[in-house]
């Protein structure tokens, strides 16, 4: 029976729905406990997903596939949602009685991502993507009273809809050329013709929107800045990873380079993304917006792996996506804690953080440096994989630009570090982020350091996950 293979998906959906159902009639306190229970059960799902990592099966005539690639990302999304929720339990108290809706939407978004990466067919992919995206529209605007949040939701919706339309148009053109939407069959029936190229380019744009590649990145800073921080975090780590996973599966499996060499466009886009993201980040003064631009730059690095489209590159993408979860969540979790304490995410809110809470400052610094690719943190190994892949495919220039831009990025990360370490804070009271956030922070910190120092396990996992492409 096929449903046995879908245990993760089913349980996640059930948790999301149950959360909604059970919450009705509970008071705020009860809802808070319920959300914690939901997070705990998500953790069990995560364990389950880890155990079932190596399962492989194609379901429903190939419309839905269970493979190690999908399983890798399932683990990633579950980790991400758990970490994000853990780190935001303090933050989301402000939603009061809507807290369960919020959490359940987060879980649905994760569900959408899971479907997206397991799709064996463009239709499934689209549906999963929309589940995720529509959840995010709502989540972005979850602070409805807040103009920024509402505006972010609306902007995301308009732009997201446009990008969906573009993506769909691309898919329809591919369908026109091949007559199929099953990903594994497209490759077989591919013919080089203008419609194919148009289709590929439009799909590239559609996925590019999700992963925030230049010039499809414009929504990112606004939406990241306006949304509630947990949503921003999940957008950054989850939505982006899902975008990459789908991107990867479709482009590498369905669109062989021999038919149409999309690799070079990827490379150029990757380079532009790194440059633009990092350069604009330099002048930012709001930490959320800064991290938004930084996440654009990160997308550029990961895209370099896709442009390479070889073992190192793909492995690097998976590797990087995973470590990106820890590093970014860690950075955002600190931001959340600071926001909860000071009510602001401006850089000045971080002043003197190292005196108030040395651990928070240290974690923020370490996570950011991991994003910048400073060893011995995880980001360095990830970049090493990605750029090794790029060099192997002949994109030495891309590697050079990427590495130089990484170093440029250190500038703004260190600017924030400087504020944290030598800035003068108004109050000297320590920030208490709460037990769950602490847990999330320590997980992020330890994972970032551990992966950086001993990357072999994660790299082995990534290796296993990409075997469908080789």
């Amino acid at each position: 029976m096929s449903f046995n293979w879908l245990s993760t998906e089913i349980i996640v959906a059930l948790i999301g729905i149950l959360l909604l159902v059970l919450s009705s009639g509970l008071n705020v306190r009860g809802k808070e406990i319920l959300t914690k229970a939901a997070v705990a059960s998500m953790f069990l799902v995560l364990l389950n997903a880890i155990v079932l990592f190596s399962r492989e099966q194609s379901l429903f005539n190939g419309v839905y596939v269970v493979d190690s690639f999908g399983n890798f990302f399932k683990i990633l999304f579950l980790l991400a949602v758990i970490l994000v929720l853990l780190s935001s339990l303090q933050y989301i108290k402000r939603f009061k009685e809507k807290i369960c809706e919020f959490v359940s939407l987060m879980i649905f978004a994760a569900m959408g991502m899971i479907i997206m990466v397991s799709a064996g067919d463009l239709i499934t992919l689209y549906v999963g993507m929309e589940l995720m995206t529509i959840s995010f529209y709502i989540l972005s605007a979850f602070l409805l009273q807040n103009q920024f949040s509402a505006e972010a939701g609306l902007k995301y919706l308009v732009l997201g809809a446009i990008s969906s339309a573009v993506l769909l148009f691309g898919m329809s053109l591919i369908y026109a050329v091949t007559g199929t939407t099953v990903i594994s069959e497209i490759a077989v029936r591919l013919r080089t013709e203008p419609a194919l190229i148009a289709g590929v380019v439009m799909m590239l744009a559609g996925f590019g929107f999700k992963i925030a590649a230049v010039p499809f990145h414009m929504w990112v800073p606004d939406i990241y800045e306006g949304s509630p921080i947990p949503v921003t975090t999940f957008l950054a780590v989850g939505s982006k990873a899902a975008g990459f996973a789908a991107f990867l599966r479709v482009f590498v499996l369905a669109l062989p380079l021999a038919q149409f060499n999309w690799s070079i466009y990827m490379a150029v886009i990757a380079a532009l993304t790194m440059v633009a993201g990092n350069l604009i980040a330099i002048v930012q003064t709001d930490v959320k917006r800064l991290l938004a631009y930084s996440s654009i730059a990160q997308a550029g690095y990961i895209l370099a792996g896709l442009a390479a489209a070889n073992t190192y590159g793909l492995k690097g993408m998976l590797f990087y996506a995973m470590l990106y979860v820890f590093s970014t969540t860690g950075a955002f979790a600190v931001t959340t804690a600071v926001e909860v304490d000071t009510g602001s995410t401006g850089m000045e809110a971080f002043a003197g953080l190292s005196r108030r809470s040395p651990m928070l400052a240290a974690i923020m610094t370490i996570c950011m440096l991991s994003l910048a690719g400073i060893p011995p943190l995880a980001g360095f190994v990830g970049k090493f994989y990605l750029f090794s892949g790029a060099v192997q495919s002949g994109y030495l220039w891309l590697a050079l630009i990427g590495l130089i831009m990484s170093m440029v990025s250190v500038y703004y990360y260190l600017s924030l570090t400087r504020i944290m370490y030598i800035g003068e804070s108004a109050s000297d009271a320590p920030i208490n982020p709460g037990l769950e956030t602490r847990l999330a922070l320590w997980i992020c910190l330890l994972a970032t350091v551990f992966i950086g120092i001993y990357p072999a396990p994660l790299s082995g996992l990534a290796q296993a996950a990409i075997k469908i492409f080789i």
């Binding site: 809809a161 339309a165 329809s172 369908y175």
Partner: protein, 102 residues
């Protein structure tokens, strides 16, 4: 008898009109409607291809249906957000929604 390329051309034109609407209209509801045009262009493609390309007979139809459903959901959320935004700004003009920038 129109061939596939005619349909594709039609879809492309429709998509183009949608794009134009998206870029030029200031009313956010009109923009959403333009997006619907773009999605409809996609649907035309799917249906036409299904008719002309000899394989997987029903996929195009199914896809189009999904698109329609999802688009409906999207619009539902969209309208809700527009109302929320209208409460803040007393406007549905996209140009006014620029608190978030730079």
């Amino acid at each position: 008898m129109p061939s596939l390329s005619h349909y594709l051309l039609l879809a492309a034109v429709l998509f183009g009109i949608g794009v134009y609407g998206v870029l030029s209209r200031r009313n956010v509801i009109a923009v959403l409607m333009s997006v619907e045009l773009m999605l409809n262009a996609v649907n035309i493609n799917f249906i036409a291809v299904m008719k002309f390309v000899p394989s997987d007979r029903h996929v195009g139809q199914v896809f189009a249906l999904f698109v329609i459903v999802v688009a409906a959901a999207e619009v539902a959320v969209g309208l809700a957000l527009i109302i929320a935004m209208y409460r803040h700004k007393k406007s549905v003009n996209l140009n006014d929604f620029n608190l978030l920038k730079w």
